[in-house]
C-alpha cells in the first residue's frame, strides 16, 4: 500500500525533439525519505524533478504520488512544491507576501494568511525580516524565504533544484544540515537535485546516481559509496581506483585476473569463469604503501612513481603515476603514512587485500564525470 508521500516513477521517458533527456526511468522513492538525484549536468536529473513537479510532461510513462497518477494534474495540485535554483522570489513582493503567495491564490483572508506566513517565517528564523524586499536579503536569507514559501503549501513532497549551489562553502554546509533537520522534523519526502557527491552522501537516505538520462544506481549512501554497481558510479562518486581485465584462473575462492594494462589482480570468487571480462575497483583508502620491495607478480600490487603528496590532516592523499598506465590514488591514514613517509619522485609499491576488491558492471552511458568529486 502506497504511503501518501510515495513517489513512484514508472517507465518515464522525456524527449525534447530528437534529444532524449531521460529514458525509461523506474524508481520508487519512499514516503518521508530524503532522496538525492545526483549526476553531472545534462544527466537528466533536473528534467526528472520537473516532471515530478509537473513543469514538464513526460513523453511516456507515469508518475504516481501517494499511489495516484498525477499526469495531467496541474502543478499546484499534486501535493508537491518546488524550490528553484534561482529561488524565484517575486521581486515586487515583501518577504511576508512572497511566503503568503499561495494562500493569496487560494483567496485566504488577508489577516489569516499574514498570520500563517509569519508562523512559517519564524520556523526558518526570518520573522524579523518579514517586511523586507527580496533584493535586500543575502543569498542564504533568500533561500530561507524560498523554503518558507514552499513549506506553507504543506507539500507531501518537496522538490529542491540544486538548492545549495549558489551559496558559499560555509553557508552550504550549514544549510544542508538544516535542510536535513527540517526534513526529519516534517517527515515529508524531499527530492533534492545536486551534482555534488559529498552533499548527496551527507544527507540522503536514498542516492540516485544518474548518467545520460538513465539511473546508474539507486541505493543508500553507504551502498553507493562502498558497493558501486557500475564503474561509472565508482568513478563519478570518486574515492575509487577502477581496473578492467580478463579472468585467467579460478582457484578455490580466489579469482586471478590479467589486467588490460598487464598487471595481475586477485579478487574474491563469485562464480567467475576463466576468460570472462571483469571490471573491478578498490577504494583509495584500502590501498596501502608496501614497505620495502614486494614481488609485483603476487597480484594486487602495483609499482610507480610518487607524483603528488597532499597532506589533509587525518589522512594523506598520494598520487602515483605509472608509465603508459592509469594513475592510482592511495588515501593513507596519517599515522600509517608518517611511519614510512615518501617524497615526490620516489619509486613505490602499493598493495591491497583481495577482499577489498569490488567487482562492478561496465558502465555504458556517456560517462560524463564532471562533478565535485571526492579527491
Amino acid at each position: 500500500m502506497a504511503e501518501h508521500g510515495d513517489v513512484e516513477i514508472r517507465g518515464v521517458t522525456k524527449r525534447f525533439g530528437p534529444t532524449v533527456a531521460v529514458e525509461d526511468i523506474n524508481i520508487t522513492i519512499p514516503d518521508g525519505s530524503y532522496c538525492c538525484l545526483l549526476g553531472p549536468s545534462g544527466c537528466g536529473k533536473t528534467t526528472l524533478l520537473r516532471i515530478i513537479a509537473g513543469h514538464e510532461v513526460p513523453t511516456e510513462g507515469d508518475v504516481l504520488i501517494g499511489g495516484e497518477s498525477v499526469i495531467g494534474k496541474p502543478t499546484g495540485q499534486r501535493g508537491t512544491s518546488m524550490m528553484f535554483q534561482s529561488y524565484a522570489l517575486f521581486p515586487h513582493l515583501t518577504v511576508l507576501d512572497n511566503v503568503a503567495f499561495s494562500l493569496k491564490m487560494k483567496r485566504v483572508a488577508k489577516g489569516e494568511r499574514r498570520e500563517r506566513a509569519y508562523e512559517v517565517l519564524k520556523r526558518v528564523q526570518l520573522d524579523p525580516l518579514a517586511d523586507r524586499m527580496p533584493a535586500q536579503l543575502s543569498g542564504g536569507q533568500q533561500q530561507r524565504v524560498a523554503l518558507a514559501r514552499s513549506l506553507i503549501t504543506n507539500p507531501k513532497v518537496l522538490l529542491l533544484d540544486e538548492p545549495l549551489s549558489a551559496l558559499d562553502e560555509f553557508l552550504r554546509l550549514q544549510m544542508r544540515a538544516e535542510l536535513k533537520f527540517i526534513q526529519i522534523d516534517l517527515g515529508i519526502t524531499f527530492i533534492h537535485v545536486t551534482h555534488t557527491q559529498p552533499e548527496a552522501l551527507a544527507i540522503a537516505d536514498m542516492v540516485v546516481v544518474m548518467d545520460t538520462g538513465r539511473i546508474e544506481q539507486a541505493a543508500t549512501g553507504p551502498e553507493i559509496y562502498d558497493e558501486p554497481r557500475t564503474t561509472y558510479v565508482a568513478e563519478f562518486m570518486g574515492g575509487w581506483n577502477v581496473f578492467a581485465g580478463r579472468v585467467s584462473g579460478v582457484e578455490n575462492n580466489q579469482v586471478t585476473v590479467a589486467g588490460t594494462e598487464g598487471d595481475n589482480f586477485h579478487l574474491p570468487s563469485n562464480g567467475h569463469q576463466v576468460g570472462q571480462e571483469v571490471n573491478f575497483g578498490v577504494r583509495r583508502d584500502k590501498v596501502h604503501l608496501a614497505g620495502g620491495s614486494i614481488d609485483l607478480d603476487r597480484g594486487n600490487a602495483l609499482g610507480g612513481t610518487v607524483h603528488a603528496i597532499e597532506y589533509q590532516g587525518n589522512w594523506v592523499k598520494l598520487t602515483m603515476t605509472r608509465e603508459q598506465k592509469r594513475d592510482l590514488v592511495a588515501v593513507i591514514e596519517d599515522r600509517e603514512y608518517f611511519a614510512n613517509p615518501t617524497k615526490v619522485g620516489d619509486q613505490v609499491t602499493v598493495t591491497w587485500a583481495s577482499e577489498d576488491v569490488r567487482v562492478m558492471e561496465r558502465a555504458t552511458g556517456a560517462q560524463n564525470l564532471i562533478g565535485e568529486s571526492f579527491d
Binding site: 496541474p74 495540485q77 515586487h92 503567495f101
Partner: protein
C-alpha cells in the same frame, strides 16, 4: 591623490555629457524659455508688444473654449492610452512569452518598426485613400451591400484620428513593455504556478506588477505624443476635432503669438504634472 582623481573624473564626465547638454540647452531649454517670455507679452489684436502682463493667462482661464479643448484632449489621450496599452501589452506578451525562438521574436519586433522608416505625417495621410468616400473600405461596404451610402464617420472624423494614433503610438507602448517582459525570470512564472496560481492569477499578480515600469514609460510616451499632436487632428480630423494643440495652431496661424504661447505653457505644465504623477507611482529608473 584621491581628490585629484575624483576631480579629473568629474571633469571628464562633464566633457562627455557636454554635447548632449548643449544641444538640449539650445534646442529645448532655450525655446521653452522664449515661449515662456512670449506668453507674458501683450497682444493688442494685431501687434505683439514686449510686456509683463498676465492678460494672456487670464483670457485663457476665463475662456469657455479652454475647458472644451482640454476635455477633448483628455478624451483623445485617455482612449488612445487604453487601446494602445491593451494592444501593446498583448503584442509584447505574444512576442516574449508565446514565441519560443529568439530569431522569430526579433524578426517580428523589427517588422513592427518598419513603418517608422517613413514619416508619421505620411503614415497619417496614407489613411485617406483607405478611409475616404471613394476609399477601399467604402467601396467594399457598398459592394457587399452593408450600406447603400458611403460611411461618413470613417474619414475626417474623431474616429480617423484615433485610428492613426493607435497605429502610430502602439509601438511606443509595446517597446518598453517588450523590454520589461523579456527580463522577467521564467522561474517566477513556474514558481507562481507551483504555488497554485491560475493563468489569470499569474498575469494579474506576477506579470502585470513586474511590467509596471514598462507601462509607465509607454504611458509617458503616449500621453505626451497625443497631447502635443496637431498633425493627425488637422489632416484626419476634418476640423471637427478641437484639441488644445489645435487651438494653439489656430492662434499661431493668426500671428497671435502671446496667447498661443500661454496655451503652450499651460499644456506643458499639464503634461508635466501627468508625467510627474506617473513617476511618483512607479520607479521608472528601475528598468532603464
Amino acid at each position: 591623490m584621491v581628490r585629484v582623481i575624483t576631480s579629473a573624473l568629474r571633469y571628464r564626465a562633464a566633457l562627455q555629457i557636454s554635447p548632449l547638454s548643449l544641444a538640449l540647452l539650445f534646442f529645448l531649454v532655450g525655446p521653452v524659455i522664449m515661449i515662456m517670455i512670449m506668453s507674458f507679452y501683450e497682444f493688442t489684436g494685431f501687434m505683439t508688444v514686449p510686456d509683463a502682463t498676465l492678460e494672456n493667462y487670464i483670457e485663457l482661464f476665463t475662456s469657455s473654449l479652454t475647458g472644451v479643448n482640454y476635455l477633448q484632449t483628455l478624451k483623445m489621450v485617455g482612449i488612445t492610452w487604453v487601446v494602445t496599452l491593451v494592444l501593446g501589452f498583448t503584442l509584447a506578451y505574444f512576442l516574449v512569452f508565446d514565441l519560443v525562438e529568439l530569431r522569430t521574436k526579433l524578426l517580428l519586433f523589427l517588422l513592427c518598426v518598419v513603418p517608422f522608416w517613413t514619416s508619421s505625417v505620411i503614415r497619417m495621410v496614407a489613411w485617406v485613400p483607405f478611409l475616404g468616400k471613394e476609399g477601399i473600405i467604402n467601396k467594399f461596404v457598398i459592394w457587399t451591400g452593408i450600406s447603400a451610402e458611403p460611411l461618413q464617420f470613417l474619414l475626417f472624423s474623431e474616429f480617423a484620428v484615433f485610428l492613426s494614433y493607435i497605429q502610430i503610438f502602439t509601438l511606443f507602448m509595446m517597446a518598453p513593455l517588450f523590454n520589461v517582459m523579456a527580463r522577467i525570470n521564467r522561474d517566477l512564472i513556474e514558481a507562481a504556478r507551483d504555488n497554485g496560481a491560475s493563468g489569470i492569477q499569474i498575469l494579474w499578480h506576477v506579470i502585470i506588477p513586474l511590467c509596471k515600469p514598462g507601462i509607465a514609460i509607454g504611458t509617458i510616451f503616449v500621453v505626451s505624443l497625443v497631447a502635443s499632436d496637431f498633425a493627425a487632428v488637422s489632416l484626419l480630423g476634418g476640423q471637427r476635432v478641437g484639441t488644445v494643440s489645435i487651438s494653439m495652431i489656430i492662434q499661431m496661424n493668426m500671428a497671435q503669438y502671446p496667447p498661443s504661447s500661454a496655451t503652450g505653457v499651460i499644456l506643458l505644465v499639464v503634461v508635466l504634472l501627468i508625467v510627474g504623477g506617473i513617476m511618483r507611482m512607479v520607479d521608472v529608473r528601475k528598468q532603464l
